[in-house]
């Protein structure tokens, strides 16, 4: 029994289909991320689950209950907003107690649960502060505590870290993952940040134009993208168009217009098919002259010229030119290459994805 089941959900705004016949099953206790660019429909899907948007078609099931027609306050969900949505005229404690008072719990129970929730998010002692007296990160934790204190069946988070600065965002990612582990609650997380998604998720659903492009674990999504969109959205990807020359098991040989030959991984491709080769920086290795001689018979060796070298602290960000293609690569600071340097690079066939056009 999945914790949440979305069945053929469609939502139109005028002529635009924000959500297009989308079906999804969320497993009990997992953290599933809806990942995609602005306008892909991820927030609309979340608002359908929370009940603030009525889908035009389709049904939503929470466990065994059909909740499509039920108003938000009766769904038993926990919701964390991008802008925290803490009530400014109430203290932190009152913010947490609000939902518990509606449930008509006793004063002692309310106090106990509120304190527990604050400890879980590491904000013990701040019960009597007002939201305006807290930092952004603290406010977000209160928002999380407020959602968790009611022990909902499912927790929904709508880009909760987008309003925080970069450093804090990185920190909070791990904390949210930890809290999820601890609480064990089924969670749907919405974000446009692919690194965030990969760090915290059990599974990721990549969305575009209201449809799920790919559903899988972070590893599957990153290293085995099913189409150009998913490949381009994750990591830094450069696409080189070409045609299939040969297919051997999972490996595909592709030739391009400029006479380059790539060997990579692909599925369901035929000889002569138009494809794109997806190249990511981590697949590129700089070869020393000695290594080149030893590897002469191996595939994916190319002559490259450094067009740009940017120092980024922990590494050097390069732009390399192969024939007329510019691709990004990363290198160690110690063995830095200078502008206009020429060298041989090797692309790892296992990390090259070949996708149909």
């Amino acid at each position: 029994m999945p914790a949440l089941h979305l069945e053929n959900i469609t939502k139109r705004y005028g002529k635009l289909k924000a959500v297009d016949n989308l079906s999804l099953e969320v497993r009990d206790g997992e953290l599933l991320t809806l990942l995609g660019p602005s306008g892909c429909g991820k927030t609309t899907v979340l608002r359908c689950v929370s009940g603030f948007v009525r889908p035009d078609n389709g049904q939503i099931y929470l466990g065994e209950r059909k909740i499509t027609e039920i108003p938000p306050e009766k769904r038993g969900i926990g919701l964390v907003f991008q802008n925290y949505a803490l009530w400014p005229h109430m203290t932190v404690f009152q913010n947490l107690a609000f939902g518990l008072q509606i449930k008509k719990l006793s004063k002692d129970e309310i106090k106990q649960k509120a304190e527990q929730a604050l400890t879980l998010v590491q904000l013990g002692g701040l019960e009597d502060r007002f939201p305006r007296q807290l930092s952004g990160g603290q406010q977000q934790r209160v928002a999380l505590a407020r959602a968790l204190v009611l022990e909902p069946e499912i927790l929904l988070l709508d880009e909760p870290l987008s309003n925080l600065d970069a450093l804090l965002r990185e920190q909070m990612r791990f904390e949210i993952a930890q809290i999820h582990q601890h609480a064990g609650i089924t969670t749907i997380y919405v974000t446009h940040d692919q690194t965030e998604a990969m760090v915290i998720s059990d599974r990721i659903a990549v969305l575009e134009k209201g449809r799920i492009m790919q559903l899988g674990t972070p590893r599957e999504i990153y290293s085995k993208p099913v189409n150009k969109f998913v490949a381009g959205f994750m990591g830094t990807t450069h696409f080189i168009p070409g045609r299939v020359e040969n297919v051997a098991n999972e490996y595909v040989v592709v030739t391009t217009q400029e006479g380059l030959t790539f060997t990579g991984r692909g599925h369901g491709l035929e000889k002569g098919q138009e494809v794109d080769v997806a190249i990511r920086p981590e697949s590129i290795r700089f070869m020393s002259p000695g290594e080149v001689t030893a590897a002469l018979r191996e595939p994916n060796l190319y002559e490259a010229e450094v067009v740009r070298a940017s120092y980024v602290g922990e590494l050097i960000d390069y732009q390399l030119k192969i024939k007329n293609h510019l691709i990004r690569a990363k290198g160690e600071v110690g063995s830095a290459h200078a502008l206009n340097d020429r060298m041989v690079i090797k692309l790892d066939p296992d990390q090259l994805a070949v996708l149909s056009r």
């Binding site: 108003p71 306050e73 919701l79 802008n83 803490l86 609000f98 007002f130």
Partner: protein, 275 residues
């Protein structure tokens, strides 16, 4: 340079005096008149001063002078009408303002515009016409008629300010309440209303003062039986300047009090408001 500083200071003083004359000047005349017993031209200040007219106005001293009546009854009538008008106006304006702010009402912009109309046209033509209608309905010369006129005038402030107030409360605050189990009504009373309170208070105050000071409509509809404070002021202003000044000052007091209150309350709202 000393010369420049002298120039700057002189300019500042001149500006201050100008402001004083423009803003306080007319008021000063009012205050002086209210305590003048005898004041004939060409004296710049009254020959005799005292609180005689104040005592007459407050009903503490009777006089046979024309128009020198106790204004207490008119004052109490104005106050009671204002209170009733505020209650009815807010009962309409709060739900209306909320609906216009939060929901996409068909022709919503037109409706808002309609609420603005009574104040956009010249008042006499409107009220003369209203007098015809009210006479037919038996409302002319009655307190009910006057109350209706004041509501008409007050709804402009009422609806516009309440809808702006509700619009300033972000939807996500209400959604957050519903996500923890609060019904729409519960959310309205526990989240929306407390946050909207300063704006709603301001709206009530504007309606109150509009009703207290309302003259043209009250004049057309209320005469000859209903006499509010502004009408008493009108009656005495031609020939009994001292009396009129007393009434004018009494009418000013609620306005000044409430404006100070609004200023305090609204500032607190910005401080304690959205995050």
């Amino acid at each position: 340079m000393p010369a420049k500083r002298v120039l700057v200071i002189t300019a500042e003083i001149a500006l201050l005096v100008l402001v004083f004359l423009i803003i306080i000047g007319p008021m000063m005349s009012l205050f002086i008149w209210s305590v003048a017993h005898r004041w004939y031209w060409p004296n710049t200040l009254p020959q005799e001063v005292g609180f005689e007219y104040w005592k007459q106005a407050l009903g503490m001293r009777t006089s046979l002078a024309i128009g020198a009546i106790s204004i207490i009854p008119a004052f109490l009538l104005s106050l009671s009408i204002a209170v009733v008008v505020v209650i009815i106006c807010m009962l309409i304006a709060i739900p209306a303002g909320y609906a216009l702010a939060k929901y996409r009402i068909p022709f919503g912009a037109v409706i808002m515009f309609l609420f603005l109309m009574p104040n956009a046209f010249p008042q006499q033509p409107i009220f003369v016409n209203l007098l015809h209608i009210f006479t037919r309905w038996g409302l002319s010369g009655t307190v009910q008629g006057v109350v209706l006129v004041h509501i008409l005038v007050g709804l402009v402030f009422g609806v516009w300010i309440t809808s702006a107030t509700f619009r300033s409360i972000p939807n996500y605050l209400e959604e957050a309440a519903r996500s923890v189990g609060a019904s729409r009504l519960y959310t309205f009373f526990h989240i929306t209303l407390p946050l909207a309170a300063p704006g709603l208070l301001a709206s009530s105050v504007f309606v109150f003062i509009a009703s207290l000071d309302e003259f043209t409509g009250t004049f057309f509809i209320g005469l000859p039986f209903v006499s509010t404070l502004p009408m008493t002021l009108y009656s005495s202003s031609g020939y009994n300047m001292q009396f009129a000044s007393v009434i004018a000052i009494i009418l000013l007091i609620p306005s000044i009090l409430f404006m100070t209150l609004i200023q305090r309350v609204l500032r607190a709202e910005y401080v304690g408001g959205m995050g």
